[in-house]
Symmetry: C2
Amino acid sequence: MSVRHALLGLVAQHPRHGYELHAAFEAVVGGEQNWDVKPAQIYTTLARLEGAGLVQVDQVEGGSGPGKRIYAITAAGRSVLAEWFAQAVEGQHLRDEFFIKLMLSMSVGAASPRRVIQKQRAMLLRDRHTLTARRRQADPKTELARILLLDKTVMRLEADLRWLDMVEGRLEEVRRQPVPQPEVRPRGRPRTRGA
Amino acid sequence: MSVRHALLGLVAQHPRHGYELHAAFEAVVGGEQNWDVKPAQIYTTLARLEGAGLVQVDQVEGGSGPGKRIYAITAAGRSVLAEWFAQAVEGQHLRDEFFIKLMLSMSVGAASPRRVIQKQRAMLLRDRHTLTARRRQADPKTELARILLLDKTVMRLEADLRWLDMVEGRLEEVRRQPVPQPEVRPRGRPRTRGA
DNA sequence: GGTGCCATGTAACGCGTTACATGATTAT
DNA sequence: ATAATCATGTAACGCGTTACATGGCACC
C-alpha cells in the first residue's frame, strides 16, 4: 500500500532505476532496521506501476543485453502522487491480532488469558527497551527520519502497554461473572420466526 | 496472519462449517464494523488449513451434492494453536505509511509537509470522535469485546496525535536548517576507494 | 414465483515474502 | 581468479480483496 506510492515519489524526484530506488527507499525510512524492503518487491511494484501508466522506462543503460532500466514518472503518475499527498491515510483498521488471540483465549480451553497478557506485556517491554536504546544512539543531525519513526513506534507501544493494564483490570472485575459469550446467532431474520 | 489462527481456535471449540465460522469470527471481534472478514477468505483459509493438516473435514451435511463441510481440528492443529497462544505477537513492524508520506513530502516538490500533517491530524480527530461515540453506545454487559477493541484503537489514535504534535514542533526547530537529505550512497565499500 | 437468507465456492488481482537465477563491474 | 558489490529479474506461495457463480430453503 505504501511502497507503491513511495516509489512513485522517488521517481518523481528524478528518474531512477530499481537498485537505486531500493537504496533511496531505505535512506528515506532510515535504514533496513526500520523497514526492510526486498528487491523483489521493488521490481514487481515497478512493473505494476509501469502497467498502470504511472511510470515509464526512460532509457536503458548498460549496452549489451538487459541493462539498467531507468524509470521516469508520467503525467498520470504525478496526478496520482498529488492525490496521495492530498488525502490522509486511513488509520483505523481495528484489526488486531493480539486482541483476537485474547478473546479466543477466554473461550478455548487450555488457554489462559492472563498468561497471554503476561507474555504480550513482556514482549512490549522488551521492545520498548531495545527501541529506546536505538533512539538514544541515533544522531539528531543526520538521522531525523529514524528518530521520528522510533518515537512514533515507542509512543504506540506505550499506548498498548497502558491498554494491557486496563484490560487486566477490567478482567479482574468480570472475574466471577459468566463471561457473556456473545451468542453466535446468525445475523438478520429479526422478524416473526417460524418457531 | 491472524485469521488463520482464529479459525483454528474456533474449530477447536467444536467442529464447524464455513458459514458458521464467519458468524463466530464476527461475534468474537465484535461485529463487522470492527473487523469485516469476507467469506472468500474464510473458505480459502480453511482450504489452506486443511492442506496443512491442521483441520480436516469431519462430515458433510446436506445430502445431494456439495453440502456443509464440517471441519474439525486435528492433533497437529491443536499443537499449532497451543504454540500460538504460548508466544506473543510481534508488534514492531516500524512500517508506517504516513511516516513515509511525510518524509517524501519534505523532499518532493509540490508537496507540503505541513499540509500533510494537518490533513492527517484532521482525520485522526474525526476518527477519535466517531470511535468514542461508538464506545459510549456499546453495552458493557454484552459487548465487552467491542469495547476493549475500541479502547485500544482510541488509545493508539491518541498516541498518534501526540506524535503529530511532537513532529510539528520538531520541524519548527529545523525550519531554516538545510534538511539533511540522508545522502543516498550505496551501502558497503567503506574502505579505500579508487578515487 | 420472487425476495432474502443460508451456504459454498472459484477467479483474478494487489501486496508482500522467500528462494532462486543470472550476469556485469571492481577490488584484491 | 575470486569475492563482493552492483543490478535485474522470475516463481511460487500466503494473505486479503472484489467480483462472480451456484444452489437450497423458507416466507409471503
